[in-house]
Symmetry: C2
Subunit: 297 residues, 2 copies
């Protein structure tokens, strides 16, 4: 109401007449006459002076035009911002993940598709990651295994085989792959309890029945690498996480039954969020691109 009147005034004032404004802004001239008239009546102010058959801006009108010019510039800015938001040219997506190795690929794909979106990644264990998700501290979580929780929407993203790695001089070092059974009695350095990789590995071992000798439990991938390099034992790692080293050799597991999984998890509630939808879309596309390369669970 006030707005419409101001807008009509602005149109007439900047177009230089009622008919001109009507033509320029695709509204009828009587509408403009009515709106401007209402504005003038409401405030008892002469915005236009009748001069023959035309109406020209009065001093008050000129002053008001200066204000409305700024006003509608701000409106344009608001709409421009909304437009660019529509196209996801701005915004931020925060991700909590259990490990950096699963997410970098997704981040790269997403960033390529939406270069304007800021990305924030926070790492933590699975409990922390889930808490972030439920506390709205992140938009997307990347987890290894999933709780069945109907507040969550879970998308299996990909699986990474777990492999054994040994020092160059170990008897496995010349092998391309081994069987789990061969690990019987083998001195082994393992991850902390709760590690996704350890869990997957031990489940597979339990199936096989093989029992390595647990040398030590270390809560850091890097520290385990050092321990292996120093000959304290052999260990395992998700293939994607393995950092090559001249003293180390990665040996696959023949059965290939040991995998860590990456699931993309979001709150069902937020599934319809544009930015989250965009991310999930990228994830699906990446999964499909992986098909046939055996990356899928």
């Amino acid at each position: 109401m006030r707005y419409t009147r101001l807008r009509s005034f602005h149109a007439v004032a900047s177009a230089g007449g009622f008919n001109a404004a009507a033509a320029a802004f695709n509204i009828s001239q009587p509408t403009l006459t009515a709106q401007v008239g209402a504005l003038e009546d409401e405030y008892g102010v002469e915005l236009f002076v009748r001069r023959g058959r035309r109406r020209e801006l009065s001093d008050a009108g000129r002053h008001l035009l200066a204000i409305t010019t700024r006003l509608f510039a701000e409106e344009d800015e608001a709409l421009a911002f909304l437009e660019q938001s529509r196209e996801l040219k701005t915004g931020r997506l925060s991700i909590s993940a259990v490990g950096p190795f699963h997410v970098t690929e997704m981040l790269a794909a997403f960033n390529q598709a939406y270069p304007g979106i800021g990305l924030a990644v926070k790492l933590g264990n699975s409990t922390e990651v889930l808490d972030d998700l439920f506390d709205y501290k992140c938009d997307v979580a990347v987890l290894a295994y999933i709780d069945e929780d109907d507040r969550l929407l879970t998308i299996p993203y990909r699986r990474h085989p777990v492999a054994v790695f040994v020092r160059r001089d170990h008897r496995f070092a010349t092998r391309d792959s081994i069987r789990l059974a061969e690990l019987e009695g083998e001195p082994m350095i393992v991850r902390e309890r709760g590690s996704t990789t350890r869990r997957a590995f031990e489940e597979a071992l339990a199936v096989t029945g093989a029992k390595p000798r647990l040398m030590m439990e270390i809560g850091s991938r890097e520290a385990i690498r050092e321990a292996v390099i120093h000959g304290l034992g052999i260990s395992y790692v998700s293939e994607a996480e393995f950092v090559p080293d001249q003293d180390l050799k990665l040996v696959r597991i023949e059965e290939a039954e040991v995998y860590t999984y990456a699931h993309v998890v979001v709150l069902k509630q937020r599934e319809s969020s544009r930015i989250i939808k965009a991310f999930l879309d990228i994830v699906h596309r990446a999964r499909n691109a992986l098909d046939g390369r055996g990356g899928k669970p």
Copy 2:
């Protein structure tokens, strides 16, 4: 539409919630929900993030709020300007007048009543003044005599007696007043043809039948004063225009039939203009205040 949505968004964003905004801005909560929802749908942007039972500003929402804050500040400014215009606290009034002497009084009264209104005075002869009026170059004209023109609204403002003035050593200098008949053969310096004062004076002379000796015609009041001081003759002037001098003496005319008039003239078309109405009102009041003092025609 866009505006209402932005306003609803702004209300919710600045009030910190839908219900809070509904209470603060006296609109119903469903209205706000609908408007904000429409804005989000239209641009596919999440302005608020659902967090439990509340909705909190998203990054995009925060950005938009910054813009809408400026937007509505401009709107407030526009409305404030219109409000103060309603009370005639701003604006400008331009006056064209045939002489400065008639208008100063009005200007003073008007300025006292509406100190915020800028005043512009332009002087000219009666033709120029009327042209300004018809060309909308001025809002109000002050003229001596009037054409009957039904495009014009004319208000008699006041009349000023015309008096004779002479040098101290003139035989009239000891008199308080003279009769027009005494001017027979008297050397006289007169204004240019077209001068209101000359016209009034000569009309009165014609009635009387007296014939002064026209010494010279000078198109400037100041130059005439100098001429009288130098003893070239006597002259006349509207009493209101007379500037006292130790060498000059003003002598009234007994019949007091010689007057110049001041009429306030506006275009009928523009009579309803607030500022013009306000000025005419001041003029009427000043006229009434003059009643009983004999200032009226």
